[in-house]
Amino acid sequence: MFGYAGKMLEVYLSTQKIKTRKLEPDLARDYIGGIGFNARILYDEIPAGADPLGPDNVLVFSVGCLVGTPFPTASRMEVSAKSPASNGFGSSNSGAFLGLRLKCAGYDGMIIKGQAQKPVYLLIEEDTIEIKEASFIWGKDAWESIDLLRARHYGAEIILIGQAGENLVRFASIENGYYDGFGRTGMGAVMGSKKLKAVVVRGSKPIVPADPQGVLELSAKGQKLIKSASSYQAFCAYGTMNATIPYGGFNALSVHNYSRGTLPDWKQKAGRQIVDIYGSRHIACQSCIIACGHLAEINEGKYAGTLVKDMEITPTVSYSSNVGLSTEASIKSSELCQRYGIDMSSSGSVIAFAMELYQKGIINKDDVGYELAFGDDDAAFALLRDISLRQGIGDILAEGVKRAADHWPGADDYAIHVKGVEVPMIDPRGRWSTWTLGMLTNIRGGDHLRCRNPVENLRYNENLYHYQKERFGFKKPMYDRLDMPENLKSAAIDLESDTVDIAIMSKWAEDLINLYNSVGICIRPPVMETIGPTLLAEIYTCMTGIPMSPDELMMGSERAWNLMKLFNIRHGEVAGDSKFPRRFYRELQSGNIVDEDKVQAVLEQYWQARGWDPGTGHPLPETEKRLGI
């Protein structure tokens, strides 16, 4: 089979059995790759009501089908399992070099089932697969473990969990090398529950495209398109840090557990100029021409000697504004989170939640053991350690804000989560957009990365027509070059009134991002602005030799999204779960609250656009039939 490696690895940890599964051509065509494969496998193989931390849960890693080509940003792979945080579809995406290495070892993905008796790690060297004993790294942090594993397996790519994953912290992450990770929805806890410390991958098999010359030409075309994007230059220089100041200006930051919308010293503390101060060089993932990652270095002061790949908006907002730490402390927090193997967004939210409870007197010094205050880095890092090692109060907080709030009466008002997953970054009270609706509609709970308007305009912040629309604000050439079917484009974007319809755009944006996660490319704005299904369908055909039209490709992505929704419904999600935390509806922030009824109206429009029941949010039988699920 061209383009794909052609088989998937199946590991049964309980019985120590290893099998390979042939990649069915139907699965490849209908679900494309990456998250699409994960959706199908999880839906078929996890029984209803399975314990996310039990042996029935299945952990699936899948590589996007374009990984291995020079197509810009084609490096991503997706991990999915039933999430211990949301009890629904858990999924997380990461780049760097692992996806390519796994594909070169000869596998499109690995399916990990069962539970080992004692700590193990998995060694994949092309056809030699071994389950090896891992007591020498169990209990050690992620960076130490990588060094020890690299000493044994030279030049290997490694994914592993830190202490947080071992201790089943519900928002533990899987670390991908030193600096990258599969952060959200607690995939590290699933790996920890299987007693699988690490996966070590080496391989040098070829990936054979059907039409190598065509792939090269289309990759060059993709490179040219991305370089012509309006945000390309800024993104190359500052990465996602470009957005910190606009969001601070909109009062849309999560400051001190969402009690405020911005900080007076935000611009000095977290404006993009800090990249110039601390950043030393750019680091790219495989095939990336943007290289938004920066190596950040602190040379003097309390945290001298820290060296991390950081300067991303998510950890910065999480620790600089939500916990209120200084810039240097927030860079240090990245190192700690990567060592413990814990999700930066969720851990920041949980620490901010504990700090607010302390401030409000719901918990006190006897409960914690030390004083907690916003902006106190020593306390924040002590709490981070306690959560990762499940010591003292950390044992309760390690369950995530939703479950921890049940321990203290009155704490529920301060728990900021959607479907059990902590909400990072943006406050819908400060800015209402496709992005904020995406937190409700997201398949993996309160998260911002699966629905983003491809042409989001950060210059304007207007809440138009009661949550229905957002400002488009670009000129006609931008509209013309946007790769979207004409009828959908004219329905979603109205040039006369200069608005974007949020419900219709949400559906398109989710399908587009899901398509990116299936083919394995990145969702950075320069890519979203320029690369659409037309080019992807062409390169998919060149890569695999399977004829594919843009519509079919989008339908494949929509099929996977619907399947994930059906997975969630089977595992107990109801329509009432799609709502913001109470604080957003009740407590004023810069004079705004979120209007519950109007949000519900937009949500129903979105369900309708998806072909789901407007009352319950379940996919309708005709939608399932159209998609052929």
Partner: protein, 168 residues
């Protein structure tokens, strides 16, 4: 006659590995990171990425080592080329290369090196940051000198010389 060569600027390289991909695709029609004639080494201790590629040495150790005399300088240029038909795949040149730039091609089971794509290196064309350049050795040195002068004095080398001339 001097030939153009491949140069890599570590301070511009992001380590994306695109050069490896296009090299392997061009030469083998597939991606396989052992097949690429250029290698990007990720040295996190020194915070840098290095490109390892055939430097087209004048007195090349690979030429001296080869028992079958299959490695030679292209007539009329100083590019190292190989006669793969007579190569026996002993991999002695791979060991002899001081730069680790000779690559064992697992398809042909012979050792190969960078052939500069016949004068139009694809890796240079695809490099997004222009970290790889294809240039005459002397020109490259001049450019580097000028760049150093720009960084140090904020002006081109010519201006620096003029200025220092006035001072003297």
């Amino acid at each position: 006659m001097k030939q153009k060569r491949l140069y890599h600027n570590t301070s511009l390289c992001d380590g994306c590995g695109l050069c490896q991909l296009v090299c392997a695709l061009e030469h083998c029609g597939q991606w396989n990171h052992y097949q690429s004639r250029i290698k990007i080494v990720n040295d996190m201790e020194r915070e840098a990425f290095y490109a390892v590629c055939c430097t087209q040495c004048e007195e090349a150790p690979c030429i001296l080592t080869c028992l079958m005399n299959t490695i030679y300088k292209q007539p009329g240029s100083d590019i190292t080329v190989r006669d793969l038909y007579h190569c026996i795949g002993c991999r002695a040149c791979e060991l002899a290369c001081p730069f680790d730039a000779a690559v064992f091609d697992v398809i042909q089971e012979k050792v190969v090196n960078c052939d500069l794509c016949g004068g139009r290196p694809l890796c240079v064309e695809y490099c997004p940051n222009h970290a790889l350049t294809y240039d005459y050795p002397g020109d490259q040195a001049d450019k580097k000198r000028n760049q150093a002068a720009l960084q140090r004095f904020g002006t081109s080398l010519l201006e620096v010389f003029k200025f220092s001339g006035k001072e003297a």
